[in-house]
Symmetry: C2
Subunit: 123 residues, 2 copies
């Protein structure tokens, strides 16, 4: 397979730890990332951008201050910019994230769960 | 299900014709679309933007002038801006497209296959 074709499941199989987004590909100045999610993340906000979640497997709850959004496989939800949220998955979830390049996973919250965007080749 | 959660397969089930992208959701000024593809499209270029294809089912060939890219389910390919291409699917393909709002499906080629972006509510 030419290396500019990326398979979502092959990419996910290379990820060993939750909460570490890996770049699948880019379109213009947006990154399309794959990620495994398990446990509870940290409450945070992306003041400058929306954030798209597409769940591939598992059940993901995106907690927000006024409600929870529960996503099943093939569900898509866009957290609007500026809306505080905290993803939570009691069992492992596989998901695609889309957001502008440079978006930090923990947004304005920082902390130990902040992860650099990783490449699938391990860099 | 709250109407700001979109299910990819529910959305696809509402599409009756090939080559008619329907908006699933938006992130900032990008649209995430679902589309059915069958037959051969038209050769065209998007001079201003990359275009992302994520194949959900079926086999999609993206013909380009120097090679063909063949995508199976869960494969992602980004056609770089300015690269002439012509999608082709001998059997029906379901796919997600991502591109900036206002991107026309036939790019610079126009013609009968030009489709307005459709909404899932039929508008």
């Amino acid at each position: 397979m030419p290396d500019d074709i990326r398979n979502v499941h092959t990419a996910l199989s290379m990820i060993t730890e939750p909460w570490q987004p890996h770049r699948l590909t880019s379109i213009n100045d947006y990154d399309v990332k794959v990620v495994k999610l398990q446990g509870e993340f940290t409450w945070h906000t992306h003041p400058e951008t929306d954030e798209l979640f597409l769940v591939l497997s598992g059940v993901l709850t995106i907690q927000m201050r006024d409600r929870d959004v529960v996503l099943h496989p093939n569900d898509v939800y866009v957290v609007p910019r500026g809306v505080e949220h905290c993803p939570m998955a009691s069992e492992e979830v596989h998901a695609i994230l889309i957001e502008p390049q440079g978006t930090v996973n923990t947004g304005d919250a920082g902390g130990d769960l902040t992860s650099p965007l990783r490449e699938l080749d391990g860099s």
